[in-house]
Amino acid sequence: MSRPAFLCRALAVLALIGAAVPARLRGEASPAGGAHEAGLDPAQAQALLGSVPPDREAGRRAFQANCSGCHGPNGEGGRGPTLALPHLPRATSERAIALIIAQGIRGTDMPPFILQAADVRNVAAWVWHLGQLPPEIVPGDPRHGEKLYRDRGNCAACHSLAGYGGAIGPDLTDIGSRRGAAYLRRALVDPGAEVPQNFSVFRPEANITANFLLVSLVTRDGTAWTGVRINEDTFSIQIRDFANGFHSFLKSELAELHKQWGQSPMPSYAATFTPAELADLVAFLAAHKGQP
């Protein structure tokens, strides 16, 4: 399968943060929550959500000046989560994004931004745009692709769909809304072309994010293990082996620890499938767009 870990990781962070925030607060950022509930007076809310069409290009400039330090120049993420997602966990509309910009998110490092109302709308329009992948006609037979996924591909050994499958690689439940067909095809043929990377120098949480780093280690009693890193700190590392078994090691118990940066645990499927079969598998994956 593809390895959209960059997005995956950011999604995981968003999910993590989202989970820690009370529902009422999350609701504030949703259209149902409404501006009034969010603590703005009606005039402020009207100014913020005004009817003048936003200027997306001005939004891009304002985004780069105000937001890119944390979210990356193109919303790809950094200290803060990626925003180049079609489904932002905290905001299901441009309006909701505008409210978050104006009010910040309590309990996180996202501060309220004091911008002109027009700038807020413009930035919101830009951020909303970041998540819009152009609709794509994907050739291939998704039904046949599903069969390949389950049988010869044995993809579920490492990947999950809708809560079932392995966790050696990213969950694919909504992969079709996060990655295009060309990316998916390349990931099947050349999985190492774009391996997951960890941006988080200053991790906002006490956990590291899911970047599926391949590690191999040897304990002091001579046992060797290989798997993907689940978490790590100064004193310990947690890995998942290729049978999806969880292992915890104190670093003081290890004789060797190797992090295989740049390598993917996933084999290439170039020799396994014909070009037509690859197209079918891509069509199957592209159809998985997650919950609307």
């Binding site: 330090g69 950094g78 309990g107 002109q116 100064t234 740049g262």
Partner: protein
């Protein structure tokens, strides 16, 4: 109702002695059971002479109690301890007094929250000052508030600056004689920095030292002829608490980055007094000398790190020194009488300077300036270290710093106009794809900056350090561990997973003859004892 009455009773019982004279703060090292000022003493050592917890027994250290704050988020507070009572700031606008034996609250002062306040780096506050029975703390909306230490009742509440223009207060104030000294934050919003002194009785301002000179004043020539937005948005904020030498009667305070952090075309010149150490007469606010670490800074390398005052022999001569491990990755040794540069060297990886010249001025390595496309420079914007305190142990004669390692970022610049209250950085810095920088506690020879040992951490930590008479150094990690190292060797002796990022300055104190170490992790304060 009953709880309230009980709290009142406890508060009266435990706080009756809260009377911290200036003499007591001057001689704070004589009463190590207490922690009377931000860095423990005026010298900025963050060192506790207490030795009950030591190398031999620290492995048995256990949590005595945990106090969980009601509001989530990063806590950077450094508590005060006065005769059994712990005073701390919570986020965003709460001050709480705790019974130090049990962790039970005595009172909480809750100020109405102003949520729209622009603040570059989270709703944080680093602590309080106390004089007599009055507590002083600055607020994110740039007020200075005086509270009755026995009750939390407000004695006065004054406006230091307008928060709408990007001003805020995050630093703990410092008491010097009969004045409350308080610094300002907002260097990323194009403010003009200053340091203020207030009358502790009334809240009346006694002096203000602008950290960016007026046109025509000495130093204004370092902002270019046209000046563009010039000094009025010159930055140089004073957002970490300084140190004080009572014999020289000099107050030492660091300043932050020049305004328009990453784009300097509009401010050609050294941009005084940004990224500098200022030596100030605390009676009048007069600048006695300055030393600029990073002239014409384009990487947001604030020089607000706590100045550490050390007396030591250099080349056979006893010297009064002020030393600083700077965010720009260099360690500096200065004469604290004159500001003369003595020596300095890098304490972590940096790629922007060949070294320091005879006057301590950096000799640039190529052109490290940010570009529109971005340029990789070490250290990244959070620096070799930052606001979290270093520690100096007079016993081990070592300077300890929480350093970043192998940490670079891609710095880029963008055109931007100044708008009051809007982040004014003219660029930014992004992380390097695939890099996993590490953190390290590094012990340096205080007179040279030469590294004596290091203890590596998995990730860059934003936790300060406290060293103790028990030959220990305490710190914490980004992943939530609190740890103790051997002060002489850096060997790990104890650690505890606290379950939330440790981003505070630890302290040590004693109650009823029992030593404790306190650290904030996540939104909790943890107190450890044997």
């Amino acid at each position: 109702m009953r709880l309230h009455a009980l709290a009142l009773l406890l508060s009266v019982a435990a706080c009756a002695r809260a009377d911290v004279s200036y003499q007591r703060i001057l001689q704070a090292s004589a009463e190590p059971a207490n922690w009377l000022t931000y860095s423990g003493t005026y010298a900025g050592h963050r060192y506790s002479p207490l030795s009950q917890i030591n190398r031999a027994n620290v492995a048995q250290l256990k949590p005595a109690w945990i106090y969980q704050m009601p509001v989530e988020g990063r806590v950077e507070t450094s508590p005060l301890v006065v005769d059994g009572v712990i005073y701390l700031t919570e986020k965003p606008y709460i001050v709480t007094a705790l019974d130090g034996r049990t962790g039970r609250p005595l009172w909480s002062y809750r100020r109405p929250e102003v949520r729209e306040v622009p603040s570059c780096c989270g709703q944080v506050n680093r602590g309080l000052a106390i004089l007599g029975d009055t507590l002083f703390f600055g607020t994110l909306d740039a007020h200075l508030v005086a509270l009755d230490a026995r009750t939390g009742n407000v004695r006065w509440d004054i406006v230091v600056a307008d928060w709408h223009t990007g001003h805020s207060i995050t630093a703990a104030p410092l008491i010097v004689k009969d004045k409350v000294i308080v610094g300002i934050s907002g260097g990323d919003y194009g403010i003009r920095g200053f340091l203020d002194a207030y009358d502790p009785k009334t809240g009346r301002r006694v002096w203000r030292l602008w950290t960016v000179p007026e046109p025509g004043q000495p130093g204004s020539e370092t902002w270019g002829a046209g000046a563009g937005e010039g000094p009025q948005s010159g930055g140089a904020p004073t957002w970490v608490t300084g140190s004080y030498d009572p014999d020289l009667n000099l107050l030492y305070w660091g300043t932050g980055n020049p305004g328009g952090d990453y784009g300097g075309d509009e401010r050609p010149g050294d941009n005084l007094y940004s990224d500098s150490l200022l030596a100030i007469d605390p009676d009048t606010g007069t600048l006695r000398w300055h030393f600029q670490f990073t002239p014409h800074d384009l990487h947001d390398w604030d020089s607000n790190q706590v100045p550490v005052l050390i007396d030591a022999e250099i080349a056979g001569r006893p010297r009064k020194l002020v030393v600083q491990a700077n965010r720009n990755a260099f360690y500096y040794v200065l004469d604290r009488v004159t500001g003369e540069f003595i020596t300095g060297q890098a304490f972590t990886k940096q790629t922007w300077a060949r070294g320091l010249d005879a006057h301590g001025r950096p000799v640039l390595l190529g052109n490290p300036d940010p570009t529109p496309e971005g340029k990789l420079i070490y250290p990244g914007l959070f620096g070799g270290t930052s606001w979290y305190s270093p520690s100096y142990s007079p016993k081990a004669r070592l300077f300890y710093v929480m350093a970043s390692g192998d940490y670079g970022q891609v710095f880029y610049k963008l055109p931007q106009e100044l708008k009051p209250g809007v982040k004014f950085e003219r660029g930014g810095a992004r992380d390097v794809v695939g890099a996993e920088p590490f953190g390290a506690v590094r012990a340096l020879d205080p007179t040279s900056g030469a590294q004596r040992w290091e203890y590596r951490l998995n990730a860059v930590s934003v936790c300060g350090l406290v060293s103790t008479g028990g030959d220990l150094v305490f710190g914490g990690t980004r992943e939530g561990a609190v740890f103790a190292l051997d002060a002489d060797t850096g060997r790990l002796l104890w650690h505890f997973q606290a379950g939330g990022q440790v981003s505070c300055n630890p302290i040590s104190f004693a109650i009823d003859g029992k030593q404790y170490v306190s650290v904030a992790a996540g939104n909790s304060i943890l107190v450890f004892g044997l």
